[in-house]
């Protein structure tokens, strides 16, 4: 049941959720530990929420999948039935979900330094909690953060952003409403070199329009990288301070000449 048509971009330059053309959605990153996972994160882009847990590198459960000189990355995606507007349970072998898992796996295979862990397995479990557009983007960003949180060595961050074109104006970070209406592309970049590691586009778009939005999305990936780095840094600082390994302020304790750590009074 379609109500009144919502304007994608009005004359004032505002989108349906009040953002400007090139404005990204609010991004929150929660790196608190979840269960027994080695690394876990809950990432939200606006209303899209994704939780990723990483286990590994650990002994391979599936012996047949081991590779003799590298670790095997196993990605499983589970989309909650309550994640969309209307409750819909997805079949286990749903091709779209399998494709999402295969995409995440092939995106991270050249990024994770798997040659350091031969015959091991790194499990990535993606749980989609809320969907409001930009699902692949959220999954890729969350997987990067979870791998970083687990301490698995990576060559670089992988930062993903969606982009779309509304008549001739490019938009960034699309919501579900915009994704359904406009041709859109998801781009993931590695910020250190600026190179593109993942590009998917499923809708018809003229080549010239594509060039514009492609370059823009590459630039936007760097902004996401800034957010991710801040989150990781603040989490690490918090942990290091709590463990008492933080550098002491105020001249250092000369009372303990052996250099042992003093018990902190809490």
């Amino acid at each position: 049941m379609q109500g009144s048509r919502v304007e994608i971009l009005n004359e004032g330059g505002f989108r349906s959720d009040g953002r400007k053309q090139y404005e990204l959605r609010d991004m929150t990153i929660d790196l608190a530990q979840q269960g027994q996972a080695d690394g876990s994160v809950v990432v939200t882009h606006g209303l899209t929420q994704v939780m990723v847990s990483v286990f590994g590198p650990r002994e391979a459960k599936m012996r047949s999948q081991t590779i003799h000189d590298r670790a095997n990355i196993n990605v499983e995606v589970n989309v909650a039935a309550f994640s969309t507007g209307d409750r819909r349970k997805r079949a286990r072998g749903d091709k779209r979900i399998l494709e999402l898992a295969a995409t995440i796996k092939s995106t991270f295979e050249p990024v994770v330094q798997t040659n350091l862990y031969p015959r091991s397995q790194i499990d990535v479990f993606v749980q989609v909690l809320q969907q409001d557009g930009g699902l692949l983007q959220a999954c890729v960003n969350a997987t990067t953060l979870a791998l970083v949180n687990a301490g698995i060595p990576l060559l670089d961050f992988v930062c993903a952003v969606t982009g779309g074109v509304h008549s001739t104006s490019p938009l960034l970070d699309l919501t579900l409403l915009e994704e359904n209406d406009l041709p859109n592309v998801t781009v993931a970049v590695m910020p250190k070199t600026g190179k593109v590691t993942l590009v998917t586009m499923e809708t018809r778009l003229h080549v010239d329009r594509f060039e514009e939005i492609f370059r823009l999305a590459g630039e936007a990936g760097k902004i996401i990288h800034g957010e991710m780095k801040n989150a990781v840094r603040s989490r690490t600082t918090a942990l290091v301070t709590a463990m008492g390994s933080a550098p002491r302020v105020g001249g250092g304790d000369t009372a303990d000449k052996d250099g042992d750590d003093r018990m902190n009074e809490y």
Binding site: E99, V196, T197, D208
Partner: protein, 282 residues
């Protein structure tokens, strides 16, 4: 059953020769294998081969009741299960990673890109629509089955003719092909699919239409589906070697060129086949 990985001498030889822009089958890096299209007696039966890779596509249509939420549109379904006939690495039942990729790509290129006009498939709104069924059989895998399958599917859809239907009020009469000439499907645009392979050494140029060995040893694949009117339908680079934005755009331009060439080849072949058939008007 996973096939054995290529041996180290094979790998080194391939990388060394690709660095000098020499491919093992003598092609240039940006040269496609010449597509050979064979049409069957039935309309909508096409076998496409790119070198030794062969895919068979068949289109058939029947009248069904439309979906309740879309009473004015016909339905198109694509059936593409890879059997072990293509290669022993495919197992019946469990779809491998590559099979999922191929099935999803075919879905995006042929269905999501709106190549065929679904509203023209409507006979009687809310009651009768055409259900077009495209079945793909993968006969042989010598690398790049995806491009071959997309080409076969698209040509089959262009080749197919559905029976002429007359609607008077609420009555629907289907005319036999012997009574009235069957009509082609309404096709908006013809998307073609091109796959490029990249290799770990950045000095190696990318190649188009990889063979099986090249595909297995590649460090990344970039698949572009576009039509001759410079519109991109699908662009997919799923991981693999990271590329500069300029490199990706260069590849897109090469694909635009190839799409134009392929379009003229396909049109010429379809014309040739159609003129060979006898369509009499009594």
């Amino acid at each position: 059953m996973r096939p054995p990985s290529p041996s180290i001498p094979e790998k080194e030889f391939l990388f060394a020769s690709l660095k000098e822009s020499l491919r093992l089958d003598g092609r240039l890096p940006m040269e496609l294998r010449a597509p050979i299209l064979t049409f069957g007696d039935d309309l909508g039966w096409v076998e496409c081969s790119l070198g030794k890779t062969r895919v068979l596509a068949q289109v058939e249509g029947k009248m069904v009741k439309p979906l309740p939420e879309r009473p004015f549109e016909g339905m198109i379904t694509i059936h593409s299960e890879i059997s072990p006939m293509a290669s022993s690495e495919y197992e019946p039942g469990r779809p491998s990673d590559e099979e999922v990729t191929i099935t999803r790509m075919l879905d995006k290129v042929l269905k999501r890109s709106d190549a065929v006009d679904k509203e023209s498939l409507c006979i009687l709104a809310g009651q009768r629509v055409w259900h077009i069924r495209l079945t793909l059989h993968f006969l042989s895998d010598a690398g790049n089955m995806l491009d071959c399958a997309c080409l076969a599917g698209m040509v089959a859809l262009k080749h197919f003719r559905r029976p002429d239907v007359e609607v008077v009020g609420d009555e629907v009469t289907v005319h036999e092909p012997t009574e009235r000439a069957p009509i082609p499907l309404a096709i908006h645009h013809t998307p073609f699919c091109f796959t490029f392979a990249f290799f770990p050494d950045p000095a190696t140029p990318p190649i188009i239409d990889p063979t099986q060995l090249e595909q297995r040893l590649s460090a990344g694949l970039l698949t572009i589906a576009l039509n001759a009117q410079r519109e991109l339908c699908v662009l997919q680079k799923l991981g693999g070697v990271p590329l500069d934005t300029d490199e990706v755009l260069k590849i897109v331009n090469i694909a635009v060129q190839k799409a134009k060439e392929l379009n003229s080849i396909v049109d010429a072949r379809l014309q040739e086949d159609w003129s060979g058939r006898k369509v009499e008007v009594r």
